[in-house]
Amino acid sequence: MGMSEELSAIREQVLEGIAKARNLEALEKVRVASMGKKGSLTAIMRMMGQVPADQRPQMGQLANTVRANVETAIRERQLALKREALEAQLNAEATDITLPGRRLSPGTQHLIEQVREEMEDIFISMGYTIETGPYVETTYYNFTALNAPEDHPSRSGKDTFYVVDNAPEGKESHVLGESDVLLRTQTSGVQVHIMETKEPPIYMICPGTVFRPDTADANHLPQFTQMEGLVVDEGITFGDLKGTLDHFTREIFGKDRATRYRPHFFPFTEPSCEVDVSCGVCHGEGCRFCKNTGWLEILGCGMVDPNVFKYCGIDSEKYTGFAFGIGVERVAALRYDLPDLRMLISGDQRVLRQF
């Protein structure tokens, strides 16, 4: 058999081996068997020297062609096998993607804190600061300086948690169960603290816990959250109060909600009013949610009474202002249709995880 035939035979044999190789290892064996040091093609290349000189260029060219063919075939086969291997791997990795994910859940923020932060941010956007005050307050800050006269019914032990006054000079109270110190029933006392210490302009809110002797039930908690607001500046009008609260109401309840201002009475503001927001369920038509009125009461407010300014040493001729108090639980209850306020204080994880 001449070299040319031999080359052809090797080529056929090797190409067949390549085609038959089922994996990269088998392919590698074929490569070594042909192109390795002891490979068939290598061996025949080595014999090239023995080829007569006149045939050598022709044989050399043929040998190179065979070699190139084999190399190409191996490379192509390699790529194909790699692709097959990857495909096999991917097929093997395919999974039921409806299986649940491996989940890491962040904790949740308490609903009241969420609403409170949202409310804070709305007022911050209007240039307000956030102030705080003590939970245990004196009757002076909770009532007197807020223009609620001595013996005003709102001071009754029925509506206020009084606490034991440990001060040696604590005076005897005329009414059983009352003292000069109490758990604040409203955040309004912070108004007085701030006006005593800051010069106008004052634009502040004070969100915080307040206490009233209401037995806990679906609609009451003895401890809840109020947000007080106070503005004292030159030229503040009742219209400014309305504009501010309208903005707040739309931000917190939605742009489509209307407000209603009903004149009311609070000792520390005059004129005073209660503000309703149109019912989000029936949009004012009247339904069970709004007790057929079309309106939901959300807050109390008014122009700061000059007597309060007097207590705080602010000139009520130069400055005017407004104040408001919003129940955070009330806002939350209206927005989330809370079935029972006690859920907010039980620490029930099944509830907390919904916040």
């Binding site: 939970y135 032990g157 634009y203 002797p213 504009g243 005059e270 994880q349």
Partner: protein, 819 residues
């Protein structure tokens, strides 16, 4: 205040539809809590006539009647047929006009009229007494109507008693609105319309002048600013006329008898509480009765009208019979002994004003509210006393057949003067932010009873009526004008000033960050009561030291909420118990809030904030692709470390929490959290014995950290460091040491031995095995990373450093390399 629409209509012009009135009330500041249709509950109750009356065949005291109810009962041809009704009343005759409740009627007390048989005789309705109809107290027999009464007309139509009652919430500043005349004035200002209030007056007087029969002394004018008394004789006690009973009932009162009803009626009409004493029950001395108003004596007793024996204090005021026996608790309730009874002949009428503060305290101390006390608390106008007494006297004459004695005894030491207020129209507009015309101000204030006089300088001089104690300053008038103008009509604006900026303070931002970080670390935020039980700390085993004295609530709602909390932990333990009891076993939550540390000699406590977290169970139940080990000490510690790292708190260390000081923690699983040398909190397993006291039988790991410390120690604006340019070389090293050597000590040694090149120490395994490692020993395996900032380290250099480190650490810890 319950306002009868029909009654109010007699005092002022009203719109046709009560709904309009309701809307206008709400618009101008009188909240309407309910609108009630009165009379609607007397459907199927009609006027009737007795056709026949026969004795019941089987009863001595009942009659079988046939009653003509007109077209309300007809045969198939439409002809009226009388109803057969068995009746037990004795006071009627054939031909009498009566009131019959037919089948289907529902009488007050949810009494349904049905067809029934009484001792075998069929009865198709009931002939009614006024008491059964809720129209009065008379139960002596059925109601007999005048002979000219029509037959078969609905009773409500016949009596004209179909009415609408608006239940109005009157704010405490408006005592004037606790009366029908006050409401009429309010309505006249609302609608800018006239009132037509006509008050009755006495037609004839007889007998001795009141002042010859009674004298009045006020011991302390502070307690009683005015006391007037009139005397009427020979009253005929009986049921009230129907109109009187109806009006008293409409206002929420109960018709008792004509004398009592008159006093209540006049109170509802004018807002002035009245009291009628049975004059015959008082003592005559020197030919006169002597009324003395004085402070009660401590321990003095009176039995009030409601039958309660009440012990009085010196802060209360009593009306006494000549200074001795109390006959009324002034301004709150009359005494039982001098009450009007069916035997009363002569009446002393009191129309007086008592101090609001004393009344308010008395009412609160005795837990006794009355229509009178509600009005006195809110201030009654002393200038009205005498004329109101006259109205009552006229009605005694009209409704009780009384002979009115001339004159009035009137003790009024200091007359209350009307207040003159200067009103600047431009101030009204400036405060409202609206252009309200001056004419509007003048007309509406005048409607409200003010005398308005313009001054030369454009101001208005306003004299407010003395029954409006809320009108003393310019701003009080502004309020009236604004509410009548309509708060809804004022244009909404925003404050124009550009002179301020707001925002969170840096501490407030950090507090939000604390919450954000803890939530990112998997804790749910919760809230618990600031109320605590007095035994909370002792149940927990937490020392009171450093936690002040408890703030004690004087009248707690429940015994286990009688103090304010001094630690957040007990509240969270209660929440854990709640969750466990409801089948929730994996719990991870935190609360950031105040605790209250009281002072022995100060009124107000310190109120520092703490953040407290608890872990129970495990992060989640096992899933198909994830297994979650139970929470342990290191989960809580890891959360604390994560929080302190997020806040950039420097020099954080954990130190063994000594059991003597941390009794609520499980020894050996309890750590103090330090930043530098400052203890800022603790973390550890709650002691199982403490948990038992809170009904918890599973491990709880908790931490509590001072928020003030976190805010003070947290660092801001730390410079950002570029990541290393050159690669590091990591070498693993396992060292076997005695159990007594802590991880902190070993790491400290590694750090100091590693020098500048050692840039990271990671503990990746702690291994104990008595055979392979040795008894009382442990192996700790570290991955140490060496790196230089300015070059790629060559292995020789690292080996040299590492060998030196190993030598040093082994020498200083007595450890050995684990092969």
């Amino acid at each position: 205040m319950r306002v009868s629409y029909e009654w109010l209509k007699t005092l002022v012009d009203l719109p046709q539809d009560p709904k309009d009135l309701e809307r206008e009330f709400v618009r101008t500041g009188t909240e309407v809590e309910a609108v009630e249709r009165v009379g609607a509950n007397l459907d199927h109750v009609v006027t009737a006539q007795v056709v026949s009356k026969e004795p019941h065949p089987d009863s001595d005291h009942m009659y079988v009647t046939l009653v003509d109810v007109g077209n309300n009962n007809v045969d198939k041809d439409g002809n009226p047929v009388p109803l057969q009704i068995v009746c037990g009343a004795q006071n009627f005759n054939q031909g009498d006009h009566i009131v019959t409740a037919m089948i289907g009627a529902v009488l007050p007390g949810d009494f349904k009229i049905k067809k029934s048989k009484l001792r075998g005789v069929e009865s198709c309705g009931m002939n009614c007494s006024s008491r059964e109809l809720g129209l009065g107290d008379d139960q002596s027999g059925i109601m007999i109507l005048p002979e000219d009464a029509p037959i078969g007309v609905p009773l409500t139509d016949y009596l004209g008693m179909s009415d609408v009652v608006l239940d109005c919430e009157i704010t405490p500043n408006r005592p004037d609105c606790l009366s029908m005349t006050g409401m009429a004035v309010e309505v006249s200002a609302m609608y800018d319309t006239d009132t037509h209030i006509e008050l009755p007056s006495v037609t004839s007087e007889s007998g001795a002048d009141a002042s010859e029969q009674v004298d009045v002394a006020i011991a302390d004018p502070e307690l009683c600013s005015r006391y007037t008394a009139r005397v009427v004789r020979n009253v005929k006690i009986g049921p009230s006329p129907e109109w009187l009973a109806r009006r008293v009932t409409a206002c929420g009162g109960r018709s008792i008898n004509n004398v009592v009803d008159v006093t209540n009626y006049v109170m509802y009409l004018t807002g002035q509480p009245l009291h009628a004493f049975d004059l015959g029950k008082l003592t005559k001395e020197d030919g006169k009765y002597h009324i003395v108003v004085r402070a009660a004596e401590d321990g003095e007793h009176i039995v009030t009208l409601d039958g309660e024996d009440r012990e009085l204090t010196s802060d209360m005021t009593v009306i006494t019979d000549n200074g001795k026996t109390p006959i009324a608790l002034a301004g709150v309730m009359g005494g039982l002994d001098s009450e009007i009874t069916e035997n009363t002949v002569d009446v002393l009428l009191e129309s007086a004003v008592f101090d609001n503060g004393h009344i308010s305290r008395t009412s609160r101390n005795l837990d006794l509210m009355s229509e009178a006390s509600i009005r006195y608390e809110r201030l009654v106008d002393p200038n009205g006393c005498a004329s109101v007494a006259d109205i009552a006297a006229a009605l005694f004459e009209e409704c009780c057949g009384a002979e009115v004695c001339p004159g009035i005894v009137d003790v009024y030491p200091k007359v209350k003067e009307a207040v003159t207020i200067t009103l600047r129209p431009e101030r009204v507009c400036a405060l409202a932010g609206a252009q309200i015309p001056e004419e509007f101000m003048v007309s509406r204030l005048t409607r409200l009873g003010c005398k308005v006089t313009p001054a030369d300088n454009g101001e208005l001089s306003v004299i407010a009526p003395t029954n409006r104690p809320d009108l003393t300053r310019e701003v009080d008038l502004i309020e009236e004008i604004v509410r009548l103008w309509g708060e809804g009509d004022i244009e909404a604006t925003l404050p124009a000033a550009r002179n301020h900026a707001g925002g969170l303070t840096s501490d407030q931002r950090q507090i939000r960050k604390i919450g954000r970080t803890l939530r990112a670390l998997g804790l749910n935020e919760t809230k618990s009561y600031l109320f605590a039980s007095p035994d909370d700390l002792s149940k927990l085993g937490m020392s009171e030291e450093g936690r002040g004295v408890p703030v004690k609530v004087i009248s707690p709602l429940v015994a286990d909420q009688s103090e304010m909390r001094r630690s957040i932990v007990p509240g969270l333990l209660r929440s854990i118990a709640y969750n466990l009891a409801h089948g929730v076993s994996n719990i991870a939550m935190y609360e950031l809030g105040r605790v209250l540390f009281g002072h022995k000699d100060k009124s107000q406590p310190d109120e520092p904030s703490y953040v407290c977290g608890v872990l129970v169970g495990r992060p989640a139940d096992d899933a198909w692709n994830a297994k979650y080990p139970a929470y342990d000490f290191f989960d809580a510690k890891g959360i604390v470390e994560g929080l302190l790292e997020a806040l950039r708190i420097p020099k954080v260390r954990f130190r063994v929490a000594e059991p003597e000081q941390y009794g609520w923690l499980q020894p050996g699983r309890a750590a103090e959290i330090l930043a530098g040398s400052e203890t800022i909190g603790w973390v550890g397993n709650i002691h199982p014995l403490s948990l038992q006291n809170f009904d918890i039988e599973v491990p709880v790991i908790a931490f509590e950290i001072s928020v003030a410390s976190l805010l003070r120690l947290s660092q801001k604006d730390l410079p950002i460091v570029e990541p290393p340019t050159y690669p590091g070389i990591s070498i693993d090293l396992a060292i076997v040491v005695d159990e007594s050597v802590t991880a902190e000590q070993l790491i400290q040694r590694l750090k100091s031995a590693g020098g500048k090149l050692l840039c990271d120490i990671r503990l990746f395994d702690v291994y104990r095995d008595s055979l392979r490692v040795g008894e009382g020993k442990k192996s700790m395996a570290f991955s140490l990373t060496y790196r230089a900032d300015d070059r790629t380290l060559i292995s020789e250099e690292v080996e040299k450093t590492h060998t030196k480190l190993v030598e040093k650490v082994l020498r200083s810890t007595g450890g050995e390399i684990r092969g």
